[in-house]
Amino acid sequence: MATESSDQSNLGAKFGALVNQSWMFIIFFIGFFLVWEYSVVVFDIPKYILTPPSDVVRNGWADLPKLLYFSYITGLETLLGYVVAIIVGLPLGMAIAFSSVLRRTIYPFFVCLEMTPKIAFAPLFISWLGFGLLPKVIIVFLVCFFPIVLNAILAFNSLSEELTRFCRSTGAGVWRTFLRVRLPAAMPQCFVGFKYAAINATVGAAIAEFIGSDQGLGFYIQIVTGNMRPDLAFAGIFFLTLIGLLLFGAVTLAERLIIPWHISVRRVRTT
């Protein structure tokens, strides 16, 4: 049985292992920024082309209120589009997996749409819906929706033959089979879609803002680049990355909590 003190020493050991595994990366990471910082000086690169990372931090800090506000806007668009994509995509994927009619009608249509670059629809939505929040949410939704729905279809269609037979031999009804076997069995593949969508969500938001917007990080990056301020563009990119990381981190955390048994997340028990 694990006591509190052994938990703590366990934590210490984990931290030690983390440092052991990642010291090379940490050195590389620091080295990368040092090379950037000093090559700007050494090669005498004009500040309107490339600024050293120290300028990015200093000037980004000075512009922090605006950056934070725009992060909030872009983050909101990203989160809304992503969440709606899951709310719509997951049940729809389930329905397509279980209905032969939908599988022959909507499914091939979705496969075709998956091939089209969703970003190409962005100007259309801006022209239809204007400069506000809604067109951006829709574009994030479009970017996230297809990987979610296609992975959900795959997830709910790939129960092993043995388990299908087991379920039938128990005489359990559709609903009980779904809750106890089909749904948990489908979760890992669903999370593949959720994670892929999370990585791409901020791309959708940023590009939608490039095309038509008066606020948000995409808008900010475009404006400061036009003003020959690469330092502020980098600061904007930093916050955009941060939004993506937060979203991805949240999805990964949810995965750990929901399917701790799955091979992609489980840890070998040491007790």
């Binding site: 092993s160 043995e162 087991f166 039938r168 031999s169 128990t170 005489g171 076997v181 048994w261």
Partner: protein, 255 residues
């Protein structure tokens, strides 16, 4: 008394027209209650197909299967089934997996707690009841799967090469467990295998099946007393049964 299971002129074909494949039969076989019957045949002979038809999970092309006086037309529920790839789900512990069989049947696992623990004890898995399948060896997983397949006390157990993926040593030890499980409750067992020794050691009857399309060539009674441990393999009857079956397969040209 009529036999528990009656297989009457059962045939299975797949496809149609020019691509019609004769998979199995026609076969007739009566199985008495409480028997341990092995379906022994070369791979591809259709023994797994017969097992699925017995479970009502696959339709017969012609003929009929009668279980307990009723023709099999839908998936049978008074059965425990097991396959080479077990039906343990990775998100439940060993005990949770055994409970799954009960829950799927609308039974309350709390009322069967003693039975579950008793079964796990019989296959030496009591200490692993709260472990997940991936923390178990292949042999332990199959032991857990036996418990899952028989926790609801089925009349008939359909076992499709449950030991097929295990190494030789593990197989030996699990055979003993399987036999003791069978002997405590005496369900009727249909056991698909292509190991001659395994069939002779475990079964009260061995049905020798020809290469595809499988037919039952001979039904051999194995009259050695139960329980049969490893020592039985040295007995003259055991050896003569194994030789007899080997000769049959040599006749087919499969060994």
């Amino acid at each position: 008394m009529p036999p528990l299971i009656s297989i009457e002129n059962v045939r299975k074909t797949f496809g149609s027209g020019a691509s019609l494949v004769d998979a199995f039969g026609p076969v007739s076989l009566d199985i008495e209650e409480g028997q341990f019957v092995s379906l022994l045949g070369p791979s591809g002979c259709g023994k797994s197909t017969l097992m699925l038809m017995l479970a009502g999970l696959l339709d017969v092309t012609s003929g009929q299967i009668i279980v307990d006086g009723k023709a099999v037309k839908a998936p049978q529920t008074d059965v425990g089934i097991m396959f080479q790839d077990n039906t343990l789900v990775p998100w439940r512990t060993v005990r949770g997996n055994v409970d799954l069989q009960l829950e799927m049947r609308g039974l309350d696992p709390r009322r069967y707690k003693d039975r579950v623990l008793d079964l796990l004890g019989q296959v030496k898995l009591l200490d692993f009841a709260d472990r997940f399948p991936h923390e178990l060896s292949g042999g332990m997983q199959q032991r857990a799967a036996f418990c899952q397949a028989m926790v609801h006390d089925p009349h008939i157990m359909l076992l499709d090469e449950p030991l097929g993926k295990l190494d030789a040593m593990t197989r030996e030890s699990i055979r003993t467990d399987l036999q003791s499980l069978w002997m405590t409750r005496r369900p009727t067992v249909i056991f698909v295998t292509h190991s001659i020794e395994e069939a002779v050691q475990l079964s009260s009857q061995v049905a020798v099946i020809t290469p595809r399309p499988g037919r039952i060539d001979r039904l051999i009674d194995i009259n050695l007393p139960f329980p049969r441990d490893l020592g039985v393999k040295n007995s003259p009857e055991f050896i003569s049964h194994v030789r007899e079956i080997q000769e049959i397969f040599r006749g087919y040209g499969v060994i």
